[in-house]
Every structure is written in C-alpha cells, then in structure tokens.
C-alpha cells in the first residue's frame, strides 16, 4: 500500500500572500504599508514573510494613522506606484473616509489620472463587538470610482488580488475574518479572476441564493440542508460588488423566478436592496413573487456571542427565506 502524502493547500491568508508575492516579483512599484506588517505579518498573517523576502522598502510599518496611510498610498499611486494600504480591520477605514471617498475615488474622473491603489482590510461579523464588525460594503459600492472585491475562497483571493494589482483603479479588498484559515487550491501564476464575474458555487434547479463573502458559506450550508427536503438551490457568489455581475443576476432571476439575496450587513440601504430593486426593475415579469432579502438587524453588534449571532442571518433563516420564495 502506498500512502499518498497530500500537500496541504494554502489558507485564505496565504492565498493573499501568494498573489501579492507573484505580482511584487514582476512589478517593483508595488509596495505595502500598514500597521504590524513587518514582523507580525499583519493581524491575519496576510503578508507574513513578505518583508523578509522583499525588504523594508517594499513593506513598511506605519504608525496608527489611517488617514495618512490612505493619503500616502493615494499620493504615491498618483505618482506612479501601486501601493497596497493594509488597514487591518475595515472599521478603521472610517478614519480615512475623506481620503477614500472624496479623494482616491474621484481623481481619475476630475484629473484624468489613474489611482492604482489597493486598500486591503479584514471585514465581516465575528466576535469583537461594535467597533470591529461593521459591514461597510454599501458605503464603498455606493461611491463612484471605487471597486470592491469580497472573495470567499483562497482561489478567489489570489485571482482577484492579482487582477487588482494589474489594473489602475482604486480597489477596496475585503477579506472576511471567519474565512482567514480556510484552505483551498489557489491556481498558478497565470490565474486571474476578473472583477464583475460571479461564480456559481452550487448548481440548483428550483431557486437561487445570490450572496458573497462568508455568507457564501452559510448559503451553501442552507442549500445542503434544503437538498434533503427536496429543494434544489443554486448558490451564486458575486465575488465583487462593484463592478457587479448584473448578467449573472439577470440570468438567475429569469431562470428561477425565485430568488433570495443574502449578506450580513444591516438590511436598510444594503447591497441586497440594490440587487433586489434592480432585479425587479429589469425582470419583474420573470419573478414568481418578491425577492426575499436576508441580512442583519439594524443595530450595532454586541460583544455577547449569542446576541452577535442572533443579529446576522442563520442557516435556518436562510432556509426559511428559500421556502418562502418556493411558496409562490
């Protein structure tokens, strides 16, 4: 008997490292700045070892100065570099919102100058309370001039960060806390994922769940549970929220007529609202009933784990939403 030694596949964080390394090897204008990157490798090990490999000019430890960090990245990008500004948690972008929304996002339109800047941050709801669990996707997606990646697998992390680093637009790159340690294949040097292309992560016959980020995991769990009850659900992972894959959304609406849109941001004014509204404008007649949205309650997240869990969609809630669209 031969025992096959299976190489361990990389984690979500390692996928980021890998994509960044490959791009840094071919483009010296890429550099990374943020807090605790050099020795610690970032709070989620997302740049571990890169400073040691590329040197302290390519990976800079910054003071806790978010506005200046984004300003530094943006100015350097306008000058011709391709910086990655690592904001640690996306919650800390709020101290740099002017730099992101008023400045970086608008420069190309006003001054005809590209701003090749990646702002990476960890996002999503997990333990950590009110100041570490904000879902800010709709803030960024709402802003003309920004693109927004929300990968849910190591493969997509790598494919999307490489695409971002070959392009010239400001990209907000959100990596979900609860996905940091998941493992998977990451593709080779030539693997790129274009922005604006969704992926069907589970095929189905009866209804579709359109989602992204960690919710792709909960949606898949719900779909598996529903399978046992004879309901076949397709799960579509958007992968980027701007550009958004409107074709994929249209196709799901016209094919199934029964659609659930899911994320873990508060429902009011969210991405799910945008998707549902646009879908009903474009394909109202294909719908067998209203699109059902599943999201978080309108409240800050609590430190209490049960309260925090109760605030965001559960597998059960998602299953219920699917059954609701199946009832039309």
């Amino acid at each position: 008997m031969t025992t096959e030694v299976k190489a361990v596949t990389p984690t979500y964080s390692e996928a980021f490292q890998s994509g960044v390394r490959e791009e840094m090897n071919r483009n010296k204008k890429i550099f990374i700045l943020g807090t605790d990157l050099v020795e610690r490798g970032g709070h989620f090990a997302q740049v571990k070892g890169i400073a040691q490999e590329f040197g302290l000019k390519q990976v800079r430890d910054a003071p806790i100065s978010e506005a200046a960090m984004v300003a530094a990245g943006m100015g350097a990008a306008m000058y011709g570099c391709h910086p990655i500004v690592d904001l640690n948690f996306i919650d800390f972008s709020l101290g740099a919102m002017d730099e992101i929304i008023n400045q970086a996002a608008k420069i190309r339109f006003m001054f005809d100058r590209p701003v090749p800047l990646v702002i990476r941050a960890t996002s999503g709801v997990a333990l950590g309370g009110a100041h570490h669990c904000n879902s800010l996707e709709s803030f960024f997606a709402h802003t003309a001039g920004l693109s927004l990646a929300v990968p849910s697998t190591p493969m997509d992390v790598k494919g999307l960060i490489k695409t971002a680093l070959r392009n010239e637009d400001p990209v907000i790159f959100l990596m979900h806390k609860k996905l940091s340690g998941i493992r998977g294949e990451i593709g080779d040097e030539n693997y790129f994922v274009p922005f604006g292309k969704a992926k069907t992560i589970k095929a189905g016959k009866d209804a579709a769940i359109i989602t992204y980020g960690y919710s792709a995991v909960t949606a898949t769990k719900a779909a598996q549970a529903l399978e046992a009850e004879g309901i076949s659900v397709e799960v579509i992972d958007l992968r980027t929220l701007y550009p958004i894959d409107q074709d994929a959304i249209d196709a799901a609406v016209t094919k199934f007529g029964r659609v659930v849109v899911l994320d873990e941001a508060p429902l009011f004014g969210s991405i799910t609202a945008e998707i549902a509204a646009t879908a009903s404008e474009r394909n109202f007649k294909s719908l067998k009933g209203p699109i059902v949205r599943v999201g978080a309650v309108r409240a800050p997240l609590s430190a209490n784990p049960a309260m925090s869990e109760a605030a965001i969609p559960s597998v059960d809630q998602i299953s219920k939403a699917v059954k609701q669209v199946m009832s039309y």
Binding site: T35, E39, P63, L127, H132, A303, P305, A306, M307
Partner: protein, 328 residues
C-alpha cells in the same frame, strides 16, 4: 496635594492589587474561552490608572481606550461588574453589549472604553467642552496609548482643547508598544511632551510606575483646569507585561526586557516599599491586603460565571429613542 496618609496609601496599594489580580485572573479565564473576543491585559500599568483616578473627583469624566479595565476599576467600579462585562453577561457594566473594550457608565462620568485607537481623547475633549459650557466644576481625562499618539484625531482634539482652554487632561498610558510596534519606531521627534507643548499647553513626561508621581501631576493639572487655565498633557511611561491581546507572545521584545521591568520597575512592588518604609503597614499586613483582594476577585469570577446572559430579544433595543417622529 496633601501629604500621604495611611488610609490613602493603603487604598492606593489595594486598588493596584485589585487591578493586577483582576487582569491575571481574567487573562487565564480568557485563555479558557470565558471572555468572548479576547481582552487587553493592563498588568504593569496599574500606577497610571490608580495615580490618575485617585487624583480626580468621583464625578469627573473619563474616556479611554481598548485597554481600560484598569482605568475602570480605578474609577471605582466593582470587579464584579467589570468581570461580568468581560464575560458579556447582563450584569456587566455595559449589560453585556460592550465587552472588554467597551466598559462604560456614562451617567457617572465613565464615557467608555473604545475599539478605535485615539477616539477617547476626542470624546473627553467634548465632555470638557460640555463642562465648560454648563459651568460645572469638573474636569475630563482622555486616556490614549503611545500608538494613539499618531492618530490625527488625537491632535485635532488637543489643539481644540488648547485654544478653548478646556478643562481636560490628556493622559498617555504609554506602555511603549502598539501591538508589536515599539513607540520609538513610529514617533517622529521621539519626545511626546515636546510634541504636545507645540500646541500651547503644559506637557510633561513622567514616571508611570510611580503612583505618587502620577497622582501629583494629575492633581496639579486638575487644579489648573478648574481654575480655567486649560488642558494639560501628561505622558506617563509604563510597561505592559503581557501580549497586546491575550495569548499573544511575538518576537518583538526580549524576555529580558520584560523581566527587567517586572523586577525593577513594578508599580506595586515599588509602592509596597513606600508603604512599609513609611510605617503604614507591615509585610504581614500587606499580605493580608493581598488575600482580601484575592477573595474579592474570586467573588467577581463567581458572580460573572453565575450571571445570566442578556436577553437575545434586546438586540435591536436602544439603538435610538424612536421619538423623532412624534409631533411636538
């Protein structure tokens, strides 16, 4: 400030012992999963908290940081209510909503810990503006770390306090590291008091391991603030014995450095010597004090363990008053 008397001395010593025992106990409980979301241990920094809070009035305002168990206990809150909050239980000081980083009792002048670095100084500054506006005889203290000294928001607030002569003390709980980043690596000019004095307010670098020195500087600053002479900046040099967050070690400082601070600069040891040499207590009485503290912390743990979880149904309660729509 009047000469140190026996009861004050023993109260200061006991309060520092409470903080140390609380933190070391909570640290172990956190490693066992009892403190959701982790916590920031302040062991080593007791004199900054106790020196400051013992020099201000019970109803003066404080606003603080993510590392604020010591400030909160020193403000007079029971180990029970703080431990219960760490456990995110309904009996906690923030009813289990806040957790370790968000301890608060706003009606009594504790304007909260904070998940956002540097935010506490601004909130305290605003409270000082309120105090000045209403004409109360109070002051506010804004705690900030050495890392927080590099956020723009901190300096905007210090400038405002200076030009408006607000009754504010900016208290830098300078443990010399921001996560894994040594203060000297990210602090232009190095000397924080010098930096602050450029904003036109009295500024001091002091020994944060000497509870009496902290108490004296804060007391004088409070007198100035009450006399309408405006804010004071105090940079108290201290040291944290444990990792940034529970369980973290890292390679960024040597074991020798930690041991050096613990054995030669420990605030409790140093003050115990003062207490004994002044004849306020014998070694045996100090041990009795320690035993009474141990009992208090054990009771706090039992209280936290046995306290109920918050009501899940309350997750959306208290977000706003809900009264704006009422016709007045």
């Amino acid at each position: 400030m009047s000469k140190l008397d026996k009861s004050t001395a023993l109260a200061l010593l006991r309060q520092m012992m409470v903080i140390r025992d609380f933190e070391e106990t909570a640290d172990k409980l956190c490693l066992r999963g009892k403190v959701p979301g982790g916590m920031h241990n302040s062991s080593g920094q007791e004199a900054v908290a106790v020196g400051t809070l013992s020099a201000i009035a019970k109803d003066d305002v404080i606003a603080t940081t993510h590392r604020s168990h010591h400030h909160t206990l020193a403000k007079g809150y029971s180990a029970k209510s703080v431990m219960a909050e760490l456990f995110a239980k309904s009996t906690g000081i923030s009813h289990g909503r806040g957790g370790s980083m968000h301890l608060a009792e706003v009606t009594e002048g504790h304007f909260g810990g904070n998940g956002i670095v540097g935010a506490g100084v601004g909130i305290a500054m605003g409270a000082a503006l309120g105090i000045q506006h209403i004409g109360d005889k109070k002051i506010a203290v804004g705690f900030v770390g050495d890392g927080g000294m590099n956020t723009g928001r901190t300096w905007e607030s210090i400038n405002m306090a200076s030009i408006w002569k607000l009754p504010l003390i900016i208290l830098v709980d300078n443990n010399q590291y921001a996560v894994e980043t040594f203060v000297g690596r990210v602090t232009g000019g190095g000397d924080l008091a010098k930096r602050a004095s450029g904003f036109g307010l009295p500024a001091y670098n002091i020994d944060g391991q000497d509870v009496l020195e902290v108490r004296k500087y804060v007391s004088e600053a409070r007198e100035r603030a009450l006399a309408g002479e405006g804010p004071t900046f105090i940079n108290a040099l201290t040291y944290r014995y444990y990792g940034h967050n529970v369980g973290e070690k890292g390679q960024y400082r040597t074991q020798e450095e930690i041991a050096q601070w613990r054995t030669t600069q420990d605030p409790i040891d140093k003050f115990t010597e003062v207490v004994i040499s002044s004849g306020f207590a014998t070694q045996a009485e100090v041990e009795e004090l320690r035993a009474s503290v141990r009992k208090e912390i054990e009771e706090a743990v039992a209280f936290a363990e046995s306290s109920p979880e918050p009501e899940i149904a309350s997750i959306t309660q208290g977000v706003d008053s809900g009264k704006l729509g009422v016709q007045l």
